[in-house]
């Protein structure tokens, strides 16, 4: 059996859950795909998952209502011991990053994270994942005993590819959760001061990465953005350095965008950035490194020095707009 761990917040399944189900179905071959949902009063989510799984296990407990790694690890360990799945498949989310490695150690299970593809099915499957900031792709196999755990990168499998059929049975499982073993006390989630810009609404985006080299060069990207009627955005390191505010960050820890045009200036294209922008309709990459992973998702590319290319682009755009 392949057991998919569904992820929900405030009673809603996230898209990553469906992507993990799509990956599990591709992995399955002849093996049954089942799902488990942890939470408090989340019975309706089990029903929602049922058409995509041979069976859905519903584990409800007051101590699973608010996520903590200690409670979720206890619950997963209990369910895995009971069901003995060959694989445990989870989305690669901020939540599973927090508890899957802990559960893996406690269960003695091998864990491969951040999977973007797979080859083969069932016991002979190998898992594809980026390494070295996306400069290389690796094919990895689990070693050792225990259920093989996998986390699936966001956006790598298509949620709408999930095969649905007659709803599987929903089975309630009791998980004993030891309150005394929960060491974290979480407070309610909150957002910082309102986001000034909603990059999700932008038609065009000019995004800068490390290749911009210094804060004073941000103005160059802003000039290109003006010439294209675009918003300026950035990869994480630029915002970490304080060169642009955090609310202009694109990627797994920032905003996810899919504009008509995305121009990546000096962005190498680590997976954490790509997940935030690869749905853009047209992607342009300008980078001095011809092997930069950003070119893998680009429709148009220029290998060159952005400090030469961008001024040329601006002057071309301005020339054409005065010609019209």
């Amino acid at each position: 059996m392949i057991l998919v761990v569904a992820e929900q917040r405030d009673g809603t399944l996230n898209r990553a859950t469906w992507e993990a189900l799509a990956a599990a179905q591709q992995l399955a071959g002849e093996i049954a795909v089942k799902a488990v949902v942890f939470g408090h009063s989340v019975g309706s989510l089990a029903e929602e998952l049922a058409p995509a799984a041979a069976e859905v296990f519903l584990v409800e407990h007051p101590l699973l209502g608010t996520y903590t790694p200690d409670a979720f690890t206890q619950a997963l360990q209990h369910v895995v011991a009971l069901l003995g799945p060959a694989y445990v498949v989870l989305p690669h989310s901020y939540q599973t990053r927090d508890f899957a490695p802990m559960a893996a150690v406690r269960m003695g299970a091998p864990l491969i994270t951040d999977v973007t593809g797979l080859t083969g099915t069932g016991a002979s499957a190998a898992f594809v994942r980026p390494m070295f900031q996306g400069k290389l792709t690796s094919e990895v196999r689990h070693q050792g005993e225990g259920p093989r755990m996998v986390t699936v990168q966001i956006g790598a499998f298509r949620a709408d590819a999930v095969k649905k059929g007659n709803p599987g049975r929903v089975t309630r499982l009791e998980a004993p959760i030891d309150r005394a073993a929960i060491r974290q006390t979480p407070e309610a989630p909150f957002r910082e001061a309102k986001q000034a810009v909603d990059l999700g609404q932008a038609e065009r985006i000019v995004a800068v990465g490390r290749g911009i080299k210094a804060q004073q060069h941000i103005a160059l990207a802003e000039a290109l953005a003006r010439a294209m009627s675009a918003e300026v955005a950035a990869s994480r390191p630029i915002c970490d350095s304080g060169w642009l505010p955090m609310d202009r960050q694109i990627g797994s820890s920032g905003q996810t965008v899919a504009p008509k045009l995305y121009v990546a200036l000096g962005i190498s294209g680590a997976i954490q950035h790509l997940v935030g922008m690869k749905g853009s309709r047209t992607i342009v990459a300008i980078n001095k490194d011809a092997d930069a992973p950003i070119f893998e998702v680009a429709d148009y590319g220029i290998v060159g020095d952005l400090f030469e290319v961008v001024p040329a682009l601006i002057s071309e755009l301005e020339k054409q707009s005065t010609d019209l």
Binding site: Y94, P101, T113, D114, G144, L261, S268, T282, Y300
Partner: protein, 253 residues
């Protein structure tokens, strides 16, 4: 406060990958290395906590002798001493093994707080910190953007997806994986570099009998998911052609 900061040595960002003969690892002789950037933020946070609460910062690393480079750098930036689990077999170790050897070396030190970076720029599994916490039998939290110590307890701001955050309290000792951007990095001074030479680096042998939990079958250059039109020529020509393509072909302008 006795603070441990786990650091890793990874290839530099400028490094162009080349593979070994059986394409299961990189050609190490070609590589120049640097401190894993997320770990630099963990180190900086450890030093800021030491400034506020007193105590010491001990950097802990696992890897071959070459890892001394980043250990010395961390000492030059201000760490007090270092633990180095040294073995050539750790050059490409997975998270399970790295966390196991670090746990074995760190357990008897009984650190109050262990900090790691969010993930490494080589494997990028984002597992070592959480696994290390479990092996040390201490609580953890991940992707931390602020650390407060209040009445001997930890209160940390965890980053969630999509601009959301959450405060989480837990007892000490504990382990945190630190998000990049939590602080502004400070670099080594000349005085720091000179002083680092005298600081203690304790070499710890790797425990026997550990197993990897995964095996790299092959490494390759990434496949392109799109047919990319590369625009070439002189810079003005390329700029002109790109604007034409974006306007007429992609209809994106």
């Amino acid at each position: 406060m006795k603070i441990a900061v786990c650091i890793k040595q990874v290839p530099t960002r400028e490094w162009q990958p080349r593979l070994n003969d059986d394409r299961t690892w990189i050609r190490e002789q070609d590589v120049s290395y640097e401190l894993n950037e997320p770990d630099a933020y963990a180190l900086e946070e450890g030093m800021r906590l030491r400034e506020k609460h007193g105590g010491e910062v001990v950097v802990c690393a696992a890897g071959p002798a070459r890892v001394q480079q980043v250990i010395r750098e961390a000492l030059a930036r201000g760490a007090d001493r270092a633990l180095h689990v040294e073995d050539d077999a750790l050059a490409s170790a997975d998270a399970s093994m790295t966390s196991a050897v670090l746990a074995a070396a760190m357990a008897e030190e009984r650190f109050d707080l262990v900090l790691t970076g969010l993930q490494s720029d080589d494997h990028g599994h984002a597992q070592v910190g959480v696994m290390l916490a479990e092996r040390l039998a201490i609580p953890h939290s991940t992707i931390i953007m602020e650390v407060r110590i209040e009445d001997g307890r930890l209160r940390v701001k965890r980053e969630l997806e999509g601009g959301w955050f959450q405060w989480i309290a837990m007892p000490l000792p504990a382990l945190l994986t630190v998000q990049s951007g939590i602080n502004q990095l400070r670099y080594a001074t000349l005085k720091g570099i000179m002083g680092a030479k005298k600081k203690e680096v304790r070499i710890v042998p790797m425990p026997a009998g550990l197993q990897s939990s995964q095996r790299i079958v092959s490494l390759s250059m990434p496949a392109r998911s799109k047919q990319t039109t590369m625009v070439t020529g002189s810079t003005p020509d390329a700029a002109k052609e790109l604007v034409r393509l974006l306007r007429d072909e992609a209809r994106a302008l």
